[in-house]
Amino acid sequence: MSDPLLQRGEEIELGFGPRHPAIRGVLRLSLRVDGDRIVDCRPVIGHVHRGVEKLFELQPHADNLSHTDRLDFGSAAAANLAYAGAVEKLLGIVVPPRARYLRTILAELQRIASHLLWLGTHAADLGAMPPFFAAFGERDGVLELCERYLEDYFESDNESEAGQEAGARLRLDGIRPGGLSHDLPAGWAERCREFVESFPARLNGFAGPLTENRLWKKRTVGLGVLSPEVAVDLGVTGPALRASGFAWDLRKALPYEAYGEVDFDVPVGRNGDTYDRYLVRVEEMRQANRIVAQCLDRLPDGPVLAEPSVLEAKVEGETYHGIEGPRGEIGFYLVGDGTANPYRCHFRAPSFAHLQALPELCRGELVGDLVALIGTLDVALEEADR
């Protein structure tokens, strides 16, 4: 072979990151490569470790929800729901039906936003720019809905800026143990319905050409194959597991919020490669959209927060509550010692498990495909680093 890059037989070490344009966050990979092939990969994480589990122990449960907002910038609602659900489980709180439906709507909207963020950046990493702009534009529509949901709550004179000031585009800040901080603002449901009705067509508009694109398929089909057995063994969950053909979705297995009362399909892949993971996530956006539409149709009346208020409740006992986040199972193990603060709060981060699986995906692949392999696992480093 004349190309020096592909010469084999001599292993060298290659550093990747910690800052790299293809990583949303800070991650270092210590690679061993033979020519252009990856022999081994060792992820080095912890660059954005904040000690957030220690911080959880210092504040009452309700205040800790603001920490959960910051675990995953792509989908705050998933961590909010997992934490609120764990507290509700410990205190035996029954969430009012209207709140359950609204929380489902918010969670699914953020699933769409998270998948759009993933789709745009993943496509851009592989050199496809048009989906990047389309997906981010679309995501903006979802974030605007999240923002408007909080507008009323802050009762600002300057309507257009209220949500932005609260930082509510990314952090939802409305979910509480026991329900939601407030009901929908006037006109929100109509605005949401407008989005839901037009979103599938627009999604087809920019994802459709990608699905059949020869270059896209060349880069993703057969890349980073994960068998269902290996995926489960490594703790891989969410779309990455379902793409391997394993139909495991906590929204179906242990229905929480309103998932038991709505109709939706769980897409599964066949080959467990990068292309299947792409297909599964795109289909999940359509299903999420379906769920939002059904919840809007059936939205019950009534209060959105359980009485009495649980903001200062003393919590005793322990529980684990896991939900299906956009990236995989996100769960909280909560231990209470009878005070208002958690004694111990550990969260199961899907990104942590997915990064652990990265070496398995990388072995034998080309260095040039590394960004595709990181992208396809859909990791948030601030969640993995705690």
């Binding site: 910690p18 270092r28 210590s30 060792r42 080095v44 994480i45 912890g46 660059h47 470790h49 000690g51 589990e53 220690k54 911080l55 210092l58 489980k89 410990l90 057995e229 489960v232 063994d233 490594l234 703790g235 394993f246 495991w248 297995a253 242990l254 006992g317 322990e318 529980t319 684990y320 896991g322 199972e329 769960g331 193990y333 231990v335 004694y343 111990r344 550990h346 199961r348 942590f352 498990a353 990064l355 652990q356 680093d385 705690r386």
Partner: protein
């Protein structure tokens, strides 16, 4: 406690594993088994091979400074086939003198990083782990920050010196 005695899984496990199970309770909706430390790897292997617990959901530590032994390692297992979950606990001591907890990395590869995390943040050692190094903090960090007696405001960790030396990496040696 109520429910645990009649739980079919708890009964089957008691039959198979006998003294390895110190107690069985229902906590927070999940069957919780206190396991003798030396036997945890065997118990996990049995749960995986005979009862379908192929998925290790989570593994973490808890610090109880008043207790002897001081730490608790908590395992959350899930059987996707049976759609059920189980929580296992073992007690673990402090320092070099205390016996290490047998690693379950041989049962589920998913246990690798979480066990490193428990070592990093609590200082609990795992016996048979292929690579028990710090994961969130860097090698050479002094102390285990999730212990209850570790000050929240932090200690002088020599982080400034480490940053200069390792060229921007904070995550330990590769």
């Amino acid at each position: 406690m109520e429910g645990a005695a009649e739980d079919p899984l708890a009964m089957a496990l008691r039959e198979e594993l006998g003294e390895a199970i110190e107690s069985a309770r229902i906590l927070g909706g999940d069957l919780t088994l206190q396991i003798r430390r030396e036997t945890i790897a065997e118990v996990c292997a049995a749960l995986k091979s005979k009862h379908g617990f192929t998925y290790l959901v989570d593994l973490c530590g808890v610090d109880f400074p008043g207790r002897e032994p001081r730490f608790e390692v908590v395992y959350h297992l899930c059987s996707p086939a049976a759609n059920r979950r189980v929580r296992l606990k073992v007690a673990a001591g402090e320092g070099e003198a205390a016996a290490a907890v047998p690693s379950v990395t041989g049962v589920w590869r998913a246990a690798n990083w979480p066990e490193r995390e428990v070592w990093d943040l609590y200082g609990v050692r795992f016996d048979g782990h292929p690579d028990l190094t710090r994961i969130l903090l860097w090698e050479g960090f002094n102390g285990h920050p999730l212990r209850k007696d570790f000050p929240v405001e932090g200690i002088d960790t020599g982080a400034a010196a480490a940053t200069v030396k390792v060229g921007g990496s904070g995550g330990g040696e590769a």
